[in-house]
């Protein structure tokens, strides 16, 4: 079973083709502004490196956010169009789920992504990956308040966030993420959409 994994929700491109539970080709590269120029050529190179065609993929797993709005749309458009046009099953996971699964810490885990103006995108998982708090946009002060009830926890982040507590950086373990979520139910490609967790400013102002 070959799974194509795409995550463009941050300033990094994380992409992989997992051939089975142990064999994988992957790319982890910082892009910043030129993501749209380089994402697809990098993914094409993954295919070429193992001499397969797009049609040889059995499933697509794409990170739906939260994170950079424009970044998410780049990876998700590629994933959506692949899944739709070749009729391949597709499933989405959140960037916070990917961060949690990649952690080796044996405590409660709190992946956080900077959402500016004192806000973060965050979720809380216990050491058995059970969700204690679902993915959401939350004020840092409110998050810290919630965390008071937990004995121990660790933040997972690659962003520069002013937050009090132990932190570890996010280093994605793509094979582990894919293995963990590979049987997750697939969805109709037309219905695959980013999870922004945040309205646009124009919508907020209208409310």
């Amino acid at each position: 079973m070959r799974i194509l994994y795409i995550d463009t929700s941050s300033s990094y491109l994380y992409a992989a083709i997992s051939e089975n539970d142990s064999k994988i080709v992957e790319i982890k590269k910082e892009f910043g502004r030129s993501l749209s120029e380089e994402a697809l050529p990098e993914i094409v190179e993954l295919f070429q490196s193992i001499h397969i065609n797009p049609a040889d993929i059995d499933k697509i797993m794409v990170v739906s956010g939260p994170g950079s709005f424009t970044g998410i749309r780049i990876g998700m458009t590629i994933a959506k169009v692949c899944a739709w046009s070749m009729n391949i099953p597709i499933t989405t996971i959140t960037s916070l789920e990917a961060m949690n699964i990649s952690s080796d810490s044996n405590t409660n885990r709190v992946p956080v992504i900077n959402a500016r103006r004192g806000n973060v995108f965050a979720a809380i998982y216990d050491s058995n990956n059970r969700q204690i708090m679902p993915s959401q946009l939350i004020k840092i002060v409110d998050l810290q308040q919630k965390l008071k009830s937990l004995e121990d926890y660790i933040f997972i982040t690659n962003d520069d966030i002013e937050i009090i507590g132990n932190k570890e950086s996010y280093s994605p373990k793509l094979q582990r993420i894919i293995n963990y979520y590979k049987d997750k139910e697939s969805i109709n490609p037309h219905a695959v959409n980013p999870e922004y967790l945040k309205l646009t400013e124009a919508e907020e102002n209208l409310i």
């Binding site: 697809l40 049609a55 059995d58 424009t70 749309r73 590629i78 739709w84 959409n193």
Partner: protein, 471 residues
Amino acid sequence: MIIHLDKENYKNYNYLLLSPKEVEQEYTMNPFGNFLVYVENKDIIGYIYYSDIYDRVEINQFEIDSSHRNCGKGTALLKKLINDVDKNITLEVNITNKVAISLYEKLGFKAVSLRKGYYDGIDGILMERNRTIGSEKVKDLYILGIESSCDETSASIVLNGTKEIATVTSTQIDIHKDYGGVVPEIASREHIKNITIVLEDCLRKADMNMDQIDAIAITYGPGLIGSLLVGLEAAKTLAFIYNKPLIPVHHIAGHIYANSLVKEMKFPLLAVVVSGGHTELIEMSAHYKFHKLGGTLDDAIGECYDKVARIMDLEYPGGPKIDSLSEKGKDTYKLPVPLKDNSYNFSFSGLKSAVINLVHNEEQRKNPIIKEDLACSFQKVAVEAIITKTKKAIMDKGLKSVIVAGGVAANKGLRKAMEKLAEDLNVELTIPPIKYCTDNAAMIAAAGYFAYLDGRRADLSLNSKSQDELI
């Protein structure tokens, strides 16, 4: 999708018709042997087994799984072979197989000789397709166009840059209405929701599949960057999956080539581009040879219309509302004709300010604004600015043909004035119907065809550009 079966990875598929063992056998026995296969969900549902023997190709076997017949898949497979090998092709067919014979004839094969009793006593026909057939006549090209530069997600298939096969456009006008204009982030979010639905509907409407498309044309700019990127990534992904040429199209070239869907373009011509983002006079000496004579120094004409509409409390998009109000009004308000000079340039921000001042002054004097009359006076001056410079360009350059392009080409006042100008100067005028004036992918596919003939191609690193000159 159709692929040439790789000698390394032929085992990766499910075989409905052959077996991997047979493929392996043919590959070892026949050094000229090749398989072109039609793959769906990893199933090989059809194949052509052929021998590529120096200067010619012989089709040894051609089969489509019985549950996948009569839907153009065989035609697509054979067309792909003809395209890819570019050699004389021969084959033998059972004389009773009328369906196959008619397919071969349709694609340029001719009977050369009869082979008596070739198929267990039934005659076989040897057919040949001469490779020069294709190159004598320009090959038909089906271009898939994709447009997402602002608030319309659109896909279209156009044949040879002139014939619209199918177009599907999802517009967001009602969504942006509440905000008085297009909100870029909302537009981008809508594009990604709609993109695959629009593509699927377009292919279904055309009754075609991606294998029958010859190239993909995409609006790379100018426009809203977040919006452009959704269409661009979709186009690049399809170009990768189906191994199709990718053609970058400038949005304004698209507006100009909307005219090619109406009538053959005759050169040299003057293109008058009037839209929400552009006001330009472009001289064209031939297909895809653009020379910009002049453009707006500040606001585009459509932008000016929308801003004036907002001052007048008209609902977004206000341009068309000014146009229809003006029909009911009289020219009573005095407004300055912008940029009366010797250039081919335009300026509309002064006109917009004049309207703001006028409305403000009338309010101070407690005079109610008569919207119909203000619309009429404004439209008269705005149209006059376009007509004056258009006339100058036609006369200076001795042009015989004028085309109008862009969203504002839908403006009835401008259309009328252009028609009169064309009559006075005895030049041929083309204005596309309204459905081709607003943003649509048919115009992108049409422009894409001529860009393709001009040799323009992009690779998968193509990026969107929010601003870019048309060259």
